[in-house]
Symmetry: C2
Subunit: 377 residues, 2 copies
């Protein structure tokens, strides 16, 4: 369990297969985000129809509501959500650090005010592991200290060092919980270090020394730094990442960023963009994003994306989708979310095909050029 096979590589880009307790995941893989135990506006059947293989859920959100005890008593997160395939839970690190002004960080962990009931809560590396163990995800993430992309060197260095100390505490608790059940869940460490390549490399070395992992994650990117800076950090880190482990770039998932990340050797990514943008009426297409609210779609009988095989694109016209948004109908939110999730999952599958065929560099370059042309196909 948790073995990762590297099926092919093409430059830094990689195609692999990751075996998880609830199924296999082909990489590159885009993970839809089910923050509160549901990918907003989509059902498990929709996700299956989209070809989703790994779905992310949110430890912080599920801890404050309904609570991991409730999820546990209802049979664990898979049964709770009605999603029988692999699940990854983040550690809550990113969420609690977003609670600016409502949290206090110490070496012990983070004290914060619940955004639901205002009650005081405490998240530590150990608690984050315990909650995820109770939720029963296939992949648990270590609790990390996230800092903004604009952070100064000292801040980034301190946070990376703390993340490493927290990793060791989390891993110790995980070993106690998992005991003999090594096939149930794996704990994945997160490399921090801000936008400083040497800090990133040092953080990675620390992480790899601290244990024997089945994957490694890169956190604290796409949090305000410039895109070229993110690209540079990844390019610098990639050659020293162990080839045998899948690499998860956290929180990155706009189509162009996802393609850039795959080109830099990343295997897994997640982002709320497809569902959030979908609810705002923005659809991803190879020709760039399309705003379906635009009046030019009023009598447009064409599908949102003629190349797409999703329910939205094979059933409805742009004119109808525009009507749904103009009329503020719930179905519109769902249909655009569905298309965008399918778009990213299909993008990962197309990238995989190109990697297997040895044509990734040309494919990704052409794809990015067309997407950035904003031709709005």
């Amino acid at each position: 369990m948790f073995e990762f096979d590297l099926d092919a590589s093409d430059g830094p880009a990689r195609a692999g297969t990751w075996r998880l307790p609830h199924g296999e995941v082909r990489t590159p893989c885009f993970m839809p985000v089910g923050t509160q135990g549901t990918v907003r506006a989509l059902s498990p059947r929709d996700l299956e129809a989209c070809g989703a293989s790994l779905v992310l859920a949110n430890t912080y959100h599920l801890h404050v509501r309904p609570g991991e005890d409730v999820v546990g008593s209802l049979g664990g997160l898979h049964r709770f959500m009605g999603w029988p395939r692999p699940l990854l839970t983040d550690s809550g690190g990113f969420q609690v650090f977003s609670l600016e002004g409502r949290r206090r960080v110490s070496e012990e962990g983070v004290e914060f005010q619940s955004h639901i009931d205002g009650g005081q809560r405490h998240l530590t590396p150990e608690r984050a592991v315990e909650i995820q163990w109770a939720l029963g995800s296939d992949v648990a993430m270590a609790f990390d200290h996230v800092v903004p992309g604009s952070s100064a060197r000292q801040t980034a260095e301190d946070a990376a060092a703390r993340t490493l100390r927290w990793l060791k505490r989390g891993a110790a608790r995980f070993a106690e919980l998992a005991g003999g059940a090594a096939d149930r869940q794996t704990l994945v460490p997160i490399v921090q270090g801000g936008t400083f390549p040497d800090l990133r490399r040092a953080a990675l070395a620390g992480v790899l020394e601290a244990g024997s992992w089945r994957a490694v994650a890169v956190g604290g990117l796409s949090v305000g730094e410039s895109k070229p800076l993110m690209d540079r950090v990844l390019e610098d880190l990639e050659p020293v990442l162990p080839p045998a482990l899948p690499r998860y770039l956290m929180g990155v998932g706009f189509p162009e960023d996802f393609v850039s990340a795959m080109a830099r050797g990343m295997d897994l990514a997640d982002c709320v963009a497809p569902t959030r943008m979908g609810r705002n009426g923005t659809a991803f297409t190879d020709g760039g994003p399309v705003n379906i609210r635009n009046a030019r779609h009023r009598e447009d009988a064409a599908p949102l994306d003629p190349a797409c095989d999703c329910e939205t694109c094979t059933t409805f016209s742009r004119g109808y989708l525009r009507h749904l948004f103009a009329a503020e109908e719930l179905l519109g939110l769902r249909l655009l979310s569905l298309h965008n999730v399918r778009f990213l999952i299909r993008l990962a599958a197309r990238a995989r095909d190109a990697i297997l065929a040895g044509t990734f560099e040309g494919w990704s370059r052409a794809w990015l050029a067309r997407y950035r042309s904003r031709e709005q196909a």
Copy 2:
């Protein structure tokens, strides 16, 4: 086309088959309401999975947005909505009469202010027919003058007389439009007359004299009058309704009202209740309505309705559904709407089985007793 076969009757209750251009409809039949060209929160695939055979859309709403010209240029209402099966459009009568203070009724028709852009609009018996012809529904409704259930005799009498004059104007326009295309759409007259049985009988006689119809509708009920009064009106009208025509009771569709209506010889009904109640967190079950927001469902692993075969009941626990409503997740609105629509369609199918078996009276009596017991199964 438009033939109605009476497959069986059991007391006043009837089972039939109505042949419409886009498919056959087995009666009794519950029609989900797609006000703005979408049954709120549900997709056409959901409706198909619910077993829907006839869906209602709203002439007034589609006229003001996006406009029948847009729907027409996108291939007509079936293609617009992605619903390939039969559609019924109401005439807009009920909606414009609901625009209290924003409409002026004359013999010519109704002038009203659009609730979308505030612009002046004019709906007449002829326009209502023209709009529905452009939409391309299987079944069009004549434009009627609706009055509240509490209306005095003179008001009800005047409105019924006007409805009959408007029917003749609408039918004349319909004959011009339909010409040789008698297989495309049928126009259905509406019997008004308030809560006065003799006015209802007179209105029916007038309607039947005015043309050769393929169905007849009973309007202006479930608009504020008491339930016993509605039952009495139906009981008085039923013996004089032509057995060869399907009877559509407009706007009635809470489960207990629907069963009462079937017991009084009605074949078709529609109501926004299943979707509106669903969005409020209320689910229909044989044991009465269930409020899924209630804290007692917090850790309830049971399905919403153990007897139901819908996606919601076969996939999710009450505890999860409660979580979706507590977390204000869109999926909750959809899953309860889906269940409620399936519940009413299944209720019609169960009634049909009982009618075919000659056991309707006992079945309906037992069903109503259990539903009203509010055991909240």
